[in-house]
Structure formats: C-alpha cells, structure tokens
Subunit: 286 residues, 2 copies
C-alpha cells in the first residue's frame, strides 16, 4: 500500500509557524486581516468560506466578508474590490470564482490591488509565477502542492512531473513552480493523446481536471507520487478526487504515495491562503 | 533524408503579406517605424541589426537606431527608452539583450511601453503569453517557431512536444504557445534526467539551449520534426545549431524534418519582428 499523504501534518506545521508570525505582527501593531469577496451563494464557496473563517479565527487573523447578491451586477462587485483596495487594514483578499454568469471575471481579477492578490488571480501575480520576476503571490492551490511535496520530503529536482489540467488556477502555475524547482514538467490536458501512457512515465503526477474518479489503474505505476487536487462529487454524492483512489492505491505500491480527497491538498490550500495574508501583512510593514 | 525546413519560403510569405499591410498603413497616413536600442557593439547584435535594417528597408518600414555606448550607464539607456515611449512615430522597439554588465536589464525591460514591446521582453507581454489574457506580443523567436510549423503544415494539436531550454526568450514562451495550440508539452533543461530518452518520445522537438551541436543521434528518432533555434559558433568558427545536424539528419528519416542553422528559424525571427511592428502600427491607428 502507498503512503497516504494527509493534509493534516502540513496544516499543523503551517499553523504553528503562522501563530508565531501573527504574534509578532500584533506586537508590532499590525492586525492581519483577510477579505473574502463572494458573489451569490454557491455551496462550494460557502463551504470554503466556513473553513477559511474557522482557520482565520484559530490564528487570530481578522476576516472581513464582502457578500454580494448574485444579481447585484458588476458595478457592485467592482465597488467591493475598490473598498478592499482602499482599506489599509486589509492585507489580502480572496475572491471566489467562477463568478456567476454575466460578470466580467477578468476585469474583477485585474481590479484587485496586486499587493492584496494573495490567491494569484491577476496578471501581475501570474506574470511573477511565469517569469520569476517582480512581486506577487502564486495561486494558493498551486502553492499547496509544493507545500505537500516539501512537507513529505518528496524531492522535486530532476524528477519527471506530469500535470494533468492546464487552468490558471492550478495546472499552469504549478507546472511553472515545479519547473522553477528543476523538475522536468509535462503539461497534459483533454487533447493529450495516450494520456495514461504519458502519466505512467512520471515520477510525480498532479491531477487537476475536476473529473471525478477519471484516472484509473492504467494511468499509474508503482512508486509514483500522486497529488490529487480535484474536489468532485461522485455518483453517490460523496466527495472524491480526480483519481480513482482505490485503483490507484492498488497500483502505486509501498514506494508510492497519494493524497486522498477529502483530507489531502484541499485543506492545505486554506493554510497557504493564511500564510499569504501574513506575507502580505509583513510586506506592508516594511 | 528528412525534409530540410528552410526559413526562406516562410520569410517570403511573411514579406508578401507585410508589403500589403505597409501599403495600406501608408495609404492611411501611418508610416510604420521600428526602433532598435543597442548598448555597446556586440558582433551578434550588429549582425542581427544589419539584417533588421535590410528587412525593414525592403518593406518600407522606417528604422530608428538608438546607439548607446557600452559604458554610458543605466540612465542613458532609460533615457533612450523614454524617448522611444514618447515618440508617437515609433510603434515598436527591439532592445538587444543581454545588456552589458552593470545594466539593470529587468528595469529596462519594464520601462518599455508594453504597446511597443514587440519582442515580448516585459512582464505584461509575458503575462499575455502565459495567461492568454490582456494585450502583448510574444517573443519573436518563439512566434517564429509557430510560423515555421504552420508554414510547413506541421500539425500541432495533440502532438507531443519537447522543448529543451527554459529561457523567457524562447523556451518558456514557445511551450505556452504550443500548449495554447493543444500540444502536450514537456519542458526540459540542464537538470533533466535521461534527456535523450525524453527527447525521443516527442513528435516535435524545439532546441533552444545555445549549446553547439550538443544533441546527437541518441536524442532523435525517425519521423520527428526538429526546430533548432540555437545560433552558435562551432570549433571551426562556423555557425551551427544546438543539434548535431548530420547526426540528426541520419536518424530522422524521410518522414522527419529539421531546420538548418543558418537558413532556418533565425531569419524568420526578423520577419516576425516586422510583422509585430505592423500589428502595433495597426493597433495605434484604431
């Protein structure tokens, strides 16, 4: 059986470090605060929001919620983002996406002050991920993948990594971050031919397609490390990842490792969000 | 023997289209002009400059040369870039890199007006290449690779592409442009393990490392398409690519194809530069 890479030890370690940093910031007169901008009330968003509120509370990070009615329109959203930008007491902002239909998501992403863009939604942050130049935060889920690998001492340098999915939220940024760490990275997607064979060539596989249990035994081989970033609901209404977990588990063997869903990468993303708030708060102080 | 993919037919086709566009622009009262900013007098830069001057002349594009002494310093360079930015008669600018020692290249790249950044040196342009959002030009050499593939009817969709080299001038941007066209892209570099084996898995190989004749028979297989972007000088003082051309030629077979050095991708880069000047000029007019 492969190692099951739970998020909890990583979350605990990040929490310990964050508590120290919050204490230091408060000693220096800075009260770190996170803004959440939510348009409408999608169950996914509400679920993540509850987790974020709890996590922020447990760390002593203030949370400011900007709730916008689903039919309020772009102007109301832009006004909320302007408020976030103007409020020097808010150091970081998470805006739930995708936005409901009719909203200009790109305009909203670009409107957020890049210094407060702690989830890497704007071009400035993404340019930083791509070029290594300038300032900006990586998308939290992409950063959470690296926290998992580092936390579990999985070496990245020189390893073959296959990333399945090319979104700007996870696939493309995590590919660039792993490249920066000297992995040999292959970006795969819905048009990739012979995907199972490409996946089997990898030392590390990152799944980020949002396709429930879509990757089975033929996609894995013994000894691989699998990071499953998908959060899906299966036919029985249960949370599941992109991998067919049982099938993968059987193939990966004792030298392999896999993150479960839930209790894998997902919760680490929230920890990274808090870490980024503190990074932003420390930068403000400088 | 593989097909030898010469730059000339692509250059000729781009020239014909560019001549039409210049005529149309001039009819509308716009005189397209390219600025070249050169610090010092590196032979490589002078060689490219001569080609660019000839090419611009042949198209009726004006050329404005900003020559800066090697020891003039950052302020002199920034002043030249400010002049380029302020001059509405200049629509595009090429700045030779790397800059001599002591210059802050990043600051210079960021100082250039993104609308005039026709070689994709600034973060705004690179963000566009990475995200597909916003405005901006891709680096000309990366764009030249796609012109070659398209011009020779090499299909990209679903193909496995290996890019060797991860610079921001060519490796990373061309990888993103090929991904955008639905290739499955692997980014390789000096830390890649078993590089020859990884290269042999590809349908299309892009070589962009600047290592003279470094990739031999073991790196290729029958039927591959090889784009050799390297421009190097071999031990005998002759221009050569990153591939060991004769060795590759022998392996690729009649279904394979390779770009020679010189007379391959290099000249197409200059054509793309002119194309981008015209794109920029047409945008100004709008």
């Amino acid at each position: 059986m492969p190692r099951i890479l739970l998020g909890k030890p990583i979350i605990d370690a990040l929490k310990a470090r964050s508590l120290e940093r919050v204490a230091l910031l408060k000693n220096n007169g800075v009260d770190p605060a996170l803004a959440i901008v939510r348009v409408g009330a999608r169950p996914d968003d509400l679920s993540y929001e509850r987790t974020a509120i709890k996590r922020a509370e447990s760390l002593g990070i203030a949370l400011r919620l900007f709730e916008i009615e689903e039919d309020a329109g772009q102007d109301a959203l832009m006004k909320a983002i302007d408020e976030v930008n103007a409020d020097s007491g808010i150091q970081g902002c998470l805006m739930f996406r995708p936005l409901p239909k009719g909203y200009d998501e790109e305009a909203a992403c670009e409107a957020l002050d890049p210094r407060k863009d702690i989830d890497g939604i704007g071009r400035a942050a993404l340019a930083r991920v791509f070029t290594g130049r300038g300032e900006g935060f990586a998308p939290c889920t992409a950063a959470a993948c690296l926290e998992m690998l580092d936390g579990y001492d999985v070496s990245i340098e020189g390893k073959r990594v296959v990333v399945v999915g090319r979104s700007l939220v996870i696939g493309r940024p995590v590919a660039m971050m792993l490249l920066e760490r000297n992995a040999t990275v292959t970006l795969c997607h819905s048009r990739t031919a012979n995907l199972p064979s490409v996946m089997r060539d990898a030392d590390i596989v990152v799944l980020a397609t949002g396709r429930a249990k879509a990757y089975g035994a033929d996609c894995f081989r013994e000894g691989q490390v699998v990071l499953d970033v998908g959060i899906n609901v299966d036919a029985d209404g249960n949370l599941c990842g992109d991998a067919d977990f049982e099938a993968a588990e059987a193939v990966l063997g004792e030298h392999g490792a896999i993150t479960p869903v839930p209790r894998g990468v997902g919760g680490v993303t929230t920890s990274v969000l808090m870490k980024h708030v503190l990074d932003a708060a420390e930068r403000c102080r400088q």
